[in-house]
């Protein structure tokens, strides 16, 4: 993946969803808070700023009791700055082959992993989590689509592949993002330059139209490509479903939309080999 990395667009379409509960992250250096952030739950209305910079924290448990009341937070993550610096030296390690460093999303995902904030993740040496809820409840949730290949069906796909996500806004406009997967992890993304394809006026939900985009991606990046085209309405509904009922609900909604007959098509996977069908079914059952 190379240029045209519009992070704002990526965040807008595939960015994380707010946490289930409000939570805090504090960065400590020699027991002093040097930075921090308050992550608000989707249901929270106020936007209180984080005001603990400079605070001395000798006992994290004691501090947590105070902070939980002050910020109405369900949990807090305390990170030591020295540990973070050593984590950063791994995450932002400059590699001998180009590109020098990974993409921001991959780097943040790696840091989240090191912080142990993913469900079922390993215990972290980098951070201490305190609170009345499990850590994944007060950290932002990943977009469900980014875990598309995370199942044993995902292993039936090539190791490196592309997924083109096209959110169709109307007749002549769609937001496209091309994700590069390494195994089940997103390693990079870009905004494909489809200016060479004359697609205006075509039905984007026809397999032959989608196939043109897929072919362009395959030719351009020399990697196998898959695509998902869906309308803005379906996309928004899927995100809302994930927000309220979790990943499985979002996948279920996609599965249901895909199987609708005798209505205008609002979702299409192209190509759709059997592992893809199996993958979708699996995700909608397991989530």
């Amino acid at each position: 993946m190379e240029l045209r990395q519009n992070w704002h667009k990526f965040q807008r379409i595939l960015g994380p969803l707010p946490a289930k509960k409000s939570g805090l992250v504090l960065l400590l250096s020699h027991n002093r808070v040097v930075a921090g952030a308050l992550g608000l739950a989707s249901s929270a209305h106020s936007r209180t700023g984080f005001k603990e910079i400079g605070r001395q924290i000798d006992d994290v448990t004691g501090a947590w009791e105070d902070l939980s009341v002050k910020y109405d937070a369900a949990g807090a993550t305390f990170i030591d700055q020295e540990e973070l610096l050593s984590a950063l030296s791994q995450v932002a390690a400059v590699r001998p082959s180009a590109p020098a460093t990974d993409h921001f999303h991959a780097q943040l995902a790696r840091l989240r992993e090191m912080l142990g904030v993913e469900k079922g993740g390993e215990k972290s040496k980098l951070a201490t989590h305190l609170g009345e809820r499990p850590v994944e409840h007060f950290w932002p949730r990943k977009n469900f689509l980014l875990s598309l290949f995370r199942s044993f069906f995902g292993e039936l796909f090539p190791e490196r592949k592309l997924l083109l996500v096209g959110v169709v806004n109307g007749n002549d406009s769609f937001d496209a993002l091309l994700l590069e997967f390494q195994g089940s992890e997103v390693k990079g993304f870009s905004e494909p330059d489809f200016s060479g394809i004359d697609w205006k006026g075509l039905d984007l939900f026809l397999p032959e139209t989608a196939a043109r985009f897929v072919a362009w991606c395959e030719n351009h990046y020399v990697l196998p490509a898959y695509s998902i085209f869906l309308t803005r309405r379906v996309w928004d509904e899927a995100r809302a479903a994930q927000m309220t009922n979790g990943d499985r609900a979002a996948w279920k909604l996609l599965q249901k939309t895909r199987s609708l007959r005798d209505v205008e098509k609002e979702l299409m996977f192209e190509p759709e080999p059997w592992p893809m069908k199996a993958l979708l079914r699996w995700q909608s059952m397991r989530g």
Binding site: G15, A35, G36, L40, V94, T101, F104, R112
Partner: protein, 580 residues
């Protein structure tokens, strides 16, 4: 005064065809200027022609251009535009006093920062400038009719500080960097000096190459950019986005040393918060750069309002009131007194690092000149500063440690008296009303710098225009003086026009009682009932009540009545008493 809201275009994100529509979109939005950061490594790729395409297209569309030629972070280009190869060599990387590298934690990737004075980096940057000159000269030689500015900024130097380190730890302490500074006296080698060396070489080079194009100007500007260290990383990890109130505070503090505000990621803010930050930064800085995605996400109505604001105030008859100057050794780590004034005076303060930076307008209009402790003044400089206080009514504040022996002797020629307000002052008053304050020291360690700050502000008579400024309301004000050219002397003798901008960063409405030091007339605001309330006489008054909506920037047109002769008299004789 000139106000400009400038969209920053990421031209490398477009192909040749798209550049045309991107520029048309900017033009149709009503903007007459656009800015671009030129990523260093992009010019080394096979898509480098896009720069020429952009410049050609912009000048053809009649848009003025600001091209930022120094590496900046958060521009949306991998590694901030610094070539990959330079990041691979450990000895090219900058590091803090504790030996940790600096990481830029902004999209599109987390990467270490290079030391801009490391030989390999410095040399490679030179190649970039050569290539840039070649590319731009080709376009400019074809002829053009618009203004182009090549902007040399304070670049990565402002980012050489890891979160949590003290201001005094600001800077690059890598071996290569220190070796570069080895030729300088230890106390002279500051981040500011390092920046100046890098900066002036780039500036001089560009200036010499583009002098032949009359419409191309090489300018040097300090840009406010959000911190990109660990604090930003935490924010990105939590997906919380910036807090508008913190950003507003940072902007106010940064105004002392920055001329341009650059806001690169407003997309997570709510519309009202974003609009507030944009309108307030526009008033405070005059020049505001916003990335194109944020710019186009503003509503057409709001952009129209900003256009009106810019049109209304962009004239040589207006001037943002900034009556204080602090001479600081190192603006990245201002000394106690400069930091204190920065907190106390906000946008009213300017940091300068040398006397030569103070222009003739500032010499004529500034009320307070402060030389921070440890800033060594030669006799020539001392005389120049004393001359300012002698020639007109202004206040000069010096620390004994700044003066050389001859300078002290010169000061002794002025009749002085001593004052002890916890801080020991020696005060001299020139017949023209100018004061010189020599700060001897602190009598008791219990006294805070705040006491000193209050004394200075009152001696220099930089009283806030409205008394709420010193309260805890959170509301900030900035005033703009109108110097109308077509005004008759008779009209001028009656009073002056001012616009007072009141900025409420809070999400709640604020009731304010505006208490002015003199009598004013405000359009559309009735007189209040505060202590200083007086009977209305031709709608003049000293005390007014108003309510500021949440997250608002409200301009108020004032007519300030000229003080009477009797009052002038009191002031003339009253100054020492006021001091005592």
């Amino acid at each position: 005064m000139k106000l400009e809201l400038v969209p920053v275009v990421r031209y490398w994100d477009y192909n040749s065809k798209e550049i045309f529509s991107a520029i048309e979109r900017v033009r149709e939005s009503g903007s007459t200027v656009l800015a671009c950061m030129i990523p260093w490594s992009h010019l080394e790729t096979d898509r480098h022609h896009l720069l020429q395409k952009l410049v050609k297209q912009a000048v053809a569309s009649g848009l003025s251009l600001r091209l930022c030629v120094t590496p900046e972070l958060g521009i949306g280009y991998p590694n901030g535009g610094v070539p990959d190869e330079l990041l691979r060599e450990r000895h090219n990387l900058a590091q803090d006093r504790l030996g940790h590298p600096f990481y830029a934690c902004v999209p599109p990737n987390i990467h270490p920062l290079v030391s801009l004075l490391a030989p390999a980096v410095f040399q490679r940057y030179g190649h970039f400038l050569l290539k840039l000159t070649q590319e731009l000269t080709e376009v400019f030689s074809e002829g053009f009719e618009t203004d182009v500015e090549l902007v040399v900024t304070d670049s990565l130097f402002k980012h050489y500080r890891n979160t949590g380190l003290a201001a005094s730890d600001h800077g690059d302490f890598s071996l290569r960097h220190m070796q570069f500074g080895a030729g300088y006296k230890k106390e002279e080698w500051t981040p500011a000096l390092a920046e100046r060396i890098f900066h002036s070489r780039a500036y001089d080079f560009l200036e010499s190459r583009f002098r032949k194009f009359s419409r191309v100007k090489v300018v040097s500007k300090n840009i406010f950019a959000r911190e990109s260290s660990h604090g930003r990383l935490i924010e990105e990890l939590m997906g919380s986005g910036p807090n508008h109130a913190d950003m507003f505070r940072d902007l106010i503090r940064a105004r002392a040393s920055c001329q341009v505000a650059w806001l690169d990621d407003l997309y997570r803010l709510r519309d009202r918060e974003r609009n507030f930050l944009i309108s307030s930064s526009l008033v405070l800085f005059g020049e505001l750069w916003v990335n194109e995605h944020d710019y186009f996400s503003l509503s057409e109505g709001f952009r129209g309002k900003m256009r009106k604001l810019c049109r209304g105030f962009s004239t040589d008859e207006t001037e943002l009131v900034r009556p204080a100057i602090a001479l600081s050794q190192n603006r990245f780590a201002p000394a106690r007194i400069s930091a204190l004034l920065q907190d106390k005076l906000g946008v009213a303060l300017k940091f300068k690092t040398s006397l030569a930076e103070i222009d003739s307008f500032e010499r004529k209009n500034t009320k307070l000149f402060v030389v921070e402790e440890g800033y060594s003044l030669e006799l020539r400089q001392t005389m120049e500063l004393l001359g300012l206080a002698r020639d007109r009514d202004c206040t000069l504040v010096l620390f004994r440690s700044s003066l050389c022996e001859s300078g002290l002797k010169e000061l002794k020629k002025l009749k002085t008296f001593r004052l002890n307000h916890g801080w020991l002052f020696e005060i001299g008053i020139y017949p023209g009303g100018g004061h010189v304050l020599l700060i001897e020291g602190q009598e008791s360690s219990n006294l805070t710098m705040n006491t000193l700050g209050d004394s200075l502000v009152s001696v220099a008579r930089i009283e806030p225009f409205c008394s709420f400024d010193r309260g805890e309301s959170g509301v900030i004000s900035a005033s703009v003086d109108w110097n109308l050219k077509d005004e008759s002397p008779e009209e001028k003798s009656r009073g002056t026009m001012k616009t007072l901008f009141l900025m409420n960063p809070e999400p709640e409405a604020k009731k304010l009682t505006l208490e002015f030091s003199g009598r004013v007339r405000i359009h559309g605001v009735s007189q209040g009932e505060g202590e200083n309330a007086e009977g209305a006489e031709q709608n003049y008054g000293k005390c007014f009540e108003t309510e500021l909506p949440p997250l608002s920037v409200i301009p108020m047109s004032l007519f300030v009545e000229r003080v009477t002769q009797a009052f002038d008299k009191v002031e003339e004789h009253g100054t020492p008493a006021e001091l005592a």
